[in-house]
């Protein structure tokens, strides 16, 4: 909290005293989350290693501060830099830089950006941290909780076209990105390389239809997975007849290993505005050939806009097929006679199902615009987590994921300047 106030005190006078070609602006939110489960702790996404358990107020993951500098250069070129402080595990220039790119706008139809841009995987991914920008107190965890990626280091090309009152916007992007995944057993870095995607939107001011597809390749290794791989390979080398105990153990190793696996992201979403009402919906899919099972997610939301306030409801759900560990065909009884065999089998089972998320959430909320630049938001979520489906939540024992209904209350103030 102190760092927020300090940064604000330094920058507030600068916002109103900027040179003509330099524009300083920012966004932020201060909030608190309270969740009533003793087993599952609420966290906004998988890069957070702290969460709210047992009605204990939790502040860190609901508070954020972002600063942006836009600098206009001659010849239709401009620079954009954005830094975000958001409960990062490590504070560095790299971890706080969200945008750092140079843009060349050839004409109103074509623009090119080179550098660090916001990753554009799903409908709201680009501005999920700009809480003032959307009505809800938070983006649906079912869709955005598995997606800690925030930036893309690379290049993109955007084409905008107008046909009558229709806008068509197409974007191609390539690059790399890195994020962290956190659990109670530690944090692991995941790097995606060869990221290549297409974003396409067709819209009027009243409605919008958007499609996105991104392919990528996982370029990092997971220490916890490598430990399991070493265990299987060690037993295969030292135990005579291991292939009869664990048939096709090489296939299991390939399934476990992340590095080199493809990961694809697809999203279809839209919005419709009618008088004082807005409706939003999105369906998305994450598919890999590895231990990230194919995840299908979606949400729909109805919003009523008053002059000062908005009332809304959201329904979100996520579904993943559990991997049947028995399908590996392991002779569990014989494996148990080998020291460490039972633990290895349990670890492999937990690892292959680590990213299975099966839950649904009903939400009700209120946004109250205190001023044109400040909004107070309150939201109540009721989440039904299925057995072995609670990976989005922090769990002190990830091998024990019981079925549970969890209530979570969000209160935050979002602002821009």
């Amino acid at each position: 909290m102190k760092i927020f106030i300090l940064i604000w005190l330094i920058l507030a006078p600068l916002v109103n005293a900027q040179p003509k070609n330099l524009h300083l602006s920012g966004f932020g939110s201060l909030g608190v989350i309270s969740s009533d489960s003793k087993t599952y702790g609420y966290r906004p996404d998988l890069d957070q290693s702290d969460g709210s358990f047992n009605n204990t107020p939790y502040y860190a993951s609901s508070s954020i501060l972002g600063l942006q500098l836009d600098y206009a250069l001659p010849a239709n070129t401009d620079l954009v830099f954005q830094s975000v402080y958001h409960n990062q595990n490590t504070l560095s220039l790299d971890s706080t830089t969200r945008l750092a790119f140079v843009r060349f706008t050839a004409n109103p139809e074509w623009s090119f950006r080179l550098g660090r841009t916001a990753v554009d995987l799903f409908l709201l991914t680009e501005y999920r941290d700009v809480g003032f920008g959307y009505t809800w107190a938070h983006t649906p965890s079912e869709v955005y909780g598995l997606m800690p990626y925030r930036y893309l280091d690379g290049v993109d090309i955007t084409h905008s076209a107008h046909i009558s009152h229709l806008s068509l916007r197409s974007k191609l992007f390539v690059g790399t990105t890195t994020t962290e995944l956190a659990s109670y057993v530690g944090r692991e870095s995941v790097k995606l390389e060869d990221v290549a995607g297409l974003s396409f939107s067709l819209e009027t001011f009243q409605w919008s239809l958007q499609y996105r597809y991104t392919s990528s390749r996982i370029a990092s290794t997971s220490p916890s997975t490598e430990a399991l791989v070493s265990g299987i390979e060690g037993l295969a080398a030292s135990v005579p007849g291991f292939e009869t105990i664990w048939p096709n153990s090489n296939d299991t190793v390939d399934r476990l290993r992340l590095k080199g696996q493809a990961a694809d992201y697809t999203s279809l979403g839209g919005r419709y505005n009618w008088q004082s009402w807005s409706a939003l919906a999105e369906v998305s899919r994450i598919s890999t050939a590895s231990n990230f099972n194919t995840v299908t997610t979606g949400y729909t939301s109805l919003i009523f806009h008053g002059q000062k306030y908005s009332l809304y409801g959201i329904y979100a759900a996520t579904h993943t097929h559990l991997f049947d560990v028995a399908s590996l065909g392991v002779d569990v009884a014989t494996l148990a006679t080998i020291p460490g065999g039972t633990e290895l089998y349990a670890g492999v089972g937990a690892n292959l199902n680590f990213y299975t998320t099966n839950q649904s959430t009903w939400s009700l909320g209120l946004r109250w615009n205190l001023s044109p630049k400040i909004a107070l938001k309150c939201q109540w979520d009721q989440t039904r987590i299925k057995e072995q489906g609670g990976v989005l939540w922090l769990n002190k024992d990830f091998t024990n994921q019981p079925k549970e209904t969890v209530n979570t209350l969000f209160t935050n103030v979002g602002f821009i300047f």
Partner: protein
């Protein structure tokens, strides 16, 4: 007597507010007199001021000039143009700006500053009350027509 005074005061205030409303609603979108654009549709004006397609109908790049938030003209302009409060307009712009999609628009504190800016820049476009129109400016869209 006191009751009559109160009634008169309420009627006077209501008349004043109606007059103010009528004046404020007589807003026009203007460009420099040397700009070749002669007319724009509501959809084109929305695209331009909401950062969706920042160009004139002939494809020339445009520079929208906006007023700062506490200016009542701005509030009426967006309410009439897109049917949104300033908070919703700002929420929309925060999505566009903080994702780095569109450059932030130029903001001036008053109509006088806006007029001065457009008079000196052929590719600028802004909105103002019709009564403040000068010979160096040209109306391309009127909100109440």
């Amino acid at each position: 007597m006191a009751h009559l005074k109160l009634t008169l005061l309420i009627i006077t205030l209501q008349l004043l507010s109606v007059t103010a409303l009528a004046t404020e609603q007589d807003l026009v979108v203007v460009v420099n007199i040397n700009n070749p654009t002669s007319q724009m549709t509501k959809s084109q004006v929305i695209d331009l001021f909401m950062g969706r397609y920042i160009a004139f109908p002939n494809g020339e790049k445009a520079t929208p000039i906006d007023l700062i938030d506490n200016n009542h003209i701005k509030r009426f302009f967006y309410q009439n143009l897109v049917g949104m409060s300033l908070a919703r307009v700002n929420a929309y712009w925060s999505r566009v700006k903080f994702t780095g999609r569109v450059k932030p628009s130029v903001k001036v504190p008053s109509e006088a500053g806006l007029i001065q800016h457009i008079q000196s820049s052929p590719l600028s476009i802004g909105y103002m009350e019709r009564k403040h129109l000068t010979k160096q400016l040209k109306i391309v869209y009127a909100l109440n027509e």
